[in-house]
């Protein structure tokens, strides 16, 4: 355990190599899980039809709101772009991957993906699914990658309150709903405010949907992520190249495992 705590490159590389080498086994083992999940989903759907209906209606409403926000922003952007005659933003490409291991331990919140360095994944890249931001790639092997989820204790994501346009940091604490910290002192946050990535520090591409403010209590702001932690299966890793101002992303030497 002490070995794991030391930031020793050799230990890291060995660990990466072992995990990477075993990941193909997890890939195979995890496939029945998908089928099992679908059966469980089917059963629970039957049991909670009414609740499911309400949930879907609320989600629909939320998506409609997002749609109108997106349209407005799109129009604004187009207007600004033509005003400034600026080049269009780089459209990020994605690497599709599947979650193959998820211990769900109360100590860390990470998942393992079945894509790695050879698929174009690099350390630090943002990971999303259809709902929103999932987390960040923390380690990359040749054919597998570990994702630090937003909810993990060590996760820190610079975000923007889309409603009040104030910046903050989304900080995980191993619970389902991360907290929003480092807001400016006059910050006005209310439940329902949309939270997106701010792109501050070049860590993530800006504008990725993160979640909505869930509750505000005694200066403690909790964000309900769009992502459902219990429905993580297929994800997309965002291949975002940081603009050349910063050094080209820190990269641990990738474990070469033949």
């Amino acid at each position: 355990m002490l070995l794991g705590r030391l930031d020793n490159k050799i230990v890291e590389q060995t660990r990466l190599a072992i995990v990477d080498g075993i990941s193909p086994i997890m890939e195979v083992v995890s496939r029945p899980a998908a089928g099992f999940n679908r059966i469980v989903d089917g059963i629970s759907e039957q049991l909670h039809l009414r609740r499911e209906l309400t949930r879907l209606e609320e989600e629909n409403e939320r998506l409609r709101q997002w749609q109108s926000v997106a349209r407005r922003l799109e129009a604004e952007n187009a207007a600004y772009r033509s005003l400034l005659s600026s080049k269009s933003d780089v459209v990020p490409s994605f690497v599709a991957a599947r979650v193959i291991a998820d211990a769900g331990a109360p100590f860390v919140r990470t998942v393992l993906l079945n894509a790695g360095h050879r698929d174009g994944i690099r350390r630090g890249q943002a990971v999303m699914n259809a709902d929103g931001l999932v987390g960040r790639v923390s380690e990359v092997g040749k054919r597998s990658a570990r994702v630090l989820l937003l909810s993990d204790l060590n996760s820190r994501v610079p975000v923007l309150n889309g409603t009040s346009l104030q910046r903050g940091v989304l900080s995980g604490d191993n619970s389902d709903w991360p907290t929003l910290v480092f807001l400016p002192s006059q910050a006005q946050v209310s439940p329902g405010d949309t939270i997106v990535t701010s792109g501050h520090g070049g860590v993530f591409p800006p504008g990725l949907p993160v979640g909505v403010v869930g509750l505000v209590r005694d200066g403690n702001v909790r964000v309900q992520p769009y992502v459902d932690w219990h429905r993580l299966e297929f994800v997309r890793v965002v291949r975002f190249d940081v603009p050349k101002l910063a050094p080209a992303g820190e990269e641990l030497p990738v474990a070469e495992f033949e």
Partner: protein, 169 residues
């Protein structure tokens, strides 16, 4: 030729406890999207380590228990060595206490497992909290412990079937 096949066969038989434990480690890592954050997949391999340490400690030595725990730690991304340590301790306790369990009825064995499993989870809670530098919520761990304990009879049934299928152990 047959001598080689025989030797391969007997090796396969002898490796069964270790292989089953390994398999359970992989299964416990499966991304089962359990609907509640409070419910976590129990460490299935813990039951196997306990069982085999009582009935065939020669086939599941401390090194095997350590390797299984370490594998789980590596793949889960959790504190490195946490489960490796817990598995080794469980193996040691079960192996030294096996004379007490052998020949007793199943409920006694189950009770023994309950006590040891509880100890294991308390150790995980303490060590895990030290590692991450903050107190881990005891709730999910408690539920995990309860799940583990209630799954033990089924695991024992499974192991008995395995032993019947693989003659000689």
């Amino acid at each position: 030729m047959t001598a080689l096949a025989e030797r391969a066969g007997s090796f396969g038989r002898l490796a069964t406890p270790a292989f089953v434990t390994l398999l359970l480690v992989f299964f416990s890592l499966m991304p089962l999207n359990l609907p509640d954050s409070e419910i976590i997949m129990p460490p299935l391999a813990l039951m196997a380590v306990f069982y085999w340490s009582i009935y065939r400690p020669d086939l599941l030595p401390a090194a095997a228990a350590f390797a299984a725990g370490l594998l789980f730690d590596l793949m889960s991304g959790g504190p490195l060595g946490l489960l490796a340590f817990v598995f080794v301790v469980v193996q040691a306790v079960a192996a030294t206490q096996r004379r007490f369990f052998l020949g007793k009825v199943f409920p006694i064995e189950w009770l023994g497992f309950c006590i040891i499993a509880l100890g294991a989870f308390v150790a995980m809670w303490i060590l895990g909290s030290i590692y991450i530098g903050a107190f881990v919520k005891a709730g999910p761990l408690a539920i995990q412990a309860l799940l583990t304990i209630s799954l033990y009879p089924m695991m024992t049934w499974l192991m008995i079937r395995v032993r019947r299928a693989v003659s000689g152990i």
